[in-house]
C-alpha cells in the first residue's frame, strides 16, 4: 500500500470527513501516515479503537495483557459473548481488520512496564491512555516525557470521567495534576470500581477526537486543561492547568 497518497477507495470511504472545513485530503493523509499506541483495551479503548479505525489511522498499536471476561461485557463494547476467554488484543485486531482493511494493528499482548515503555513509545507519534490503574499512568507519564510524545489521558469513575492532553505544547504533565496516586484507591463496593457503561464510551470518544485533532492539526487541543464530565447532571467543565514551564 502506498502511504504517500490516498487510493480511490480511501477517497470514497473517507469522503464525508475530507469535505469538512479545514480537513481535506491533506488531513486524511496525515491520519494514514499516523502511528498511535493505545495502552489498555477495555472500556475507554473500545470506542477509541472503533473510531480511530473507521477514521483511517494508518497504524494502531494496542497493548493489554488481559483476556475477555463476562464482567467486561457491560461496557467494553468491542467484545461479544463469544469472545470470552480470548486475549483482548487478538480479538480487537481481528475485528478492526474486518472493519477497515486499510489499517494495520500492532498487537502487544502484555502489560506496559517501565522497562518496555521507552522503546515502544519511540515507535509511535501519539500515545492514548486507556488503562485502568495509577501505576501504568505514571509509567506513561515518565516514558512519554523521555520519548517526547504527547498523550491523551482519561479515566472514569462511577458516573463521571476526566480528560486531558499531556506532554504537548504547554508541557503540562499528569504529575503536575496529581504528583502522587491516592493512598486509598476509591472503590464502589470495597472491592472494585462501579461504572455506568456509556461513561467510558463517551470519554473514550473524546479521547479519539483529541487524537484526530492532534494528528491533523485541526482545532484547539485540550492542552494545559482538564475536562471533567458528570453524567448525573449532564455537565462538563474545563479547568486551566499550568505545566512547570507554563
Amino acid at each position: 500500500m502506498d502511504i504517500k497518497k490516498l487510493s480511490d477507495s480511501e477517497l470514497e470511504r473517507y469522503h464525508r470527513q475530507i469535505i469538512l472545513p479545514d480537513f481535506g485530503e491533506a488531513a486524511q493523509l496525515k491520519l494514514k501516515q499516523a502511528r498511535v499506541l493505545i495502552i489498555g483495551a477495555g472500556g475507554l479503548a473500545s470506542p477509541i479503537l472503533k473510531y480511530l479505525c473507521s477514521t483511517g489511522i494508518g497504524c494502531i498499536g494496542l497493548m493489554d495483557g488481559d483476556r475477555v471476561e463476562e464482567s467486561n461485557l457491560q461496557r467494553q463494547i468491542m467484545y461479544d459473548q463469544s469472545d470470552k476467554g480470548k486475549f483482548k488484543v487478538e480479538v480487537s485486531a481481528q475485528k478492526l481488520k474486518e472493519q477497515n482493511p486499510n489499517i494495520k494493528v500492532d498487537q502487544f499482548n502484555f502489560r506496559l512496564t517501565g522497562e518496555n515503555a521507552q522503546e515502544l513509545f519511540q515507535e509511535y507519534d501519539l500515545i492514548i491512555d486507556a488503562c485502568d490503574n495509577f501505576e501504568t499512568r505514571y509509567i506513561i507519564c515518565k516514558a512519554a516525557q523521555k520519548a517526547n510524545k504527547p498523550w491523551v489521558y482519561a479515566s472514569v469513575f462511577e458516573y463521571g470521567g476526566q480528560v486531558s492532553v499531556f506532554n504537548y505544547k504547554s508541557q503540562t504533565q499528569y504529575s503536575d495534576l496529581y504528583p502522587e496516586a491516592p493512598e486509598q484507591i476509591p472503590l464502589s463496593d470495597g472491592k472494585t470500581i462501579g461504572v455506568l457503561p456509556p461513561v467510558p464510551g463517551l470519554i473514550g470518544m473524546l479521547q479519539a477526537t483529541e487524537a484526530i485533532k492532534i494528528i491533523t492539526g485541526i482545532g484547539k487541543i485540550l492542552d494545559g486543561e482538564l475536562l471533567l464530565y458528570k453524567a448525573l447532571d449532564l455537565s462538563s467543565r474545563k479547568f486551566k492547568l499550568k505545566g512547570e514551564k507554563g
Partner: protein, 66 residues
C-alpha cells in the same frame, strides 16, 4: 470567611491557604487536585495560595478506571 467547597459552604479562618483548608476538611492530599474558580492550583503552591471570601473550590479526585 465563607468559601464554597464542591458547592457546599464552609467557614474558614480569614486568609487561610489551601493546605489549611484540606486540614480542616480532613482530606488526604495525595491523589487530589484543587481548583479555585477555573484554575487548578498546583500542589506546590497550596501553602502560599490564600483563599478569599466566596471562593469556589473544587476538590478533584484522581480516578483510575478505564
Amino acid at each position: 470567611m465563607k468559601v464554597y467547597v464542591n458547592d457546599e459552604s464552609i467557614n474558614l479562618a480569614d486568609a487561610s491557604n489551601i493546605t489549611q483548608l484540606l486540614k480542616q476538611l480532613e482530606t488526604a492530599p495525595k491523589g487530589l487536585a484543587v481548583a479555585v474558580g477555573p484554575n487548578i492550583v498546583p500542589s506546590s503552591l497550596w501553602d502560599e495560595y490564600k483563599l478569599k471570601e466566596d471562593d469556589q473550590v473544587l476538590l478533584i479526585r484522581a480516578t483510575q478506571g478505564g
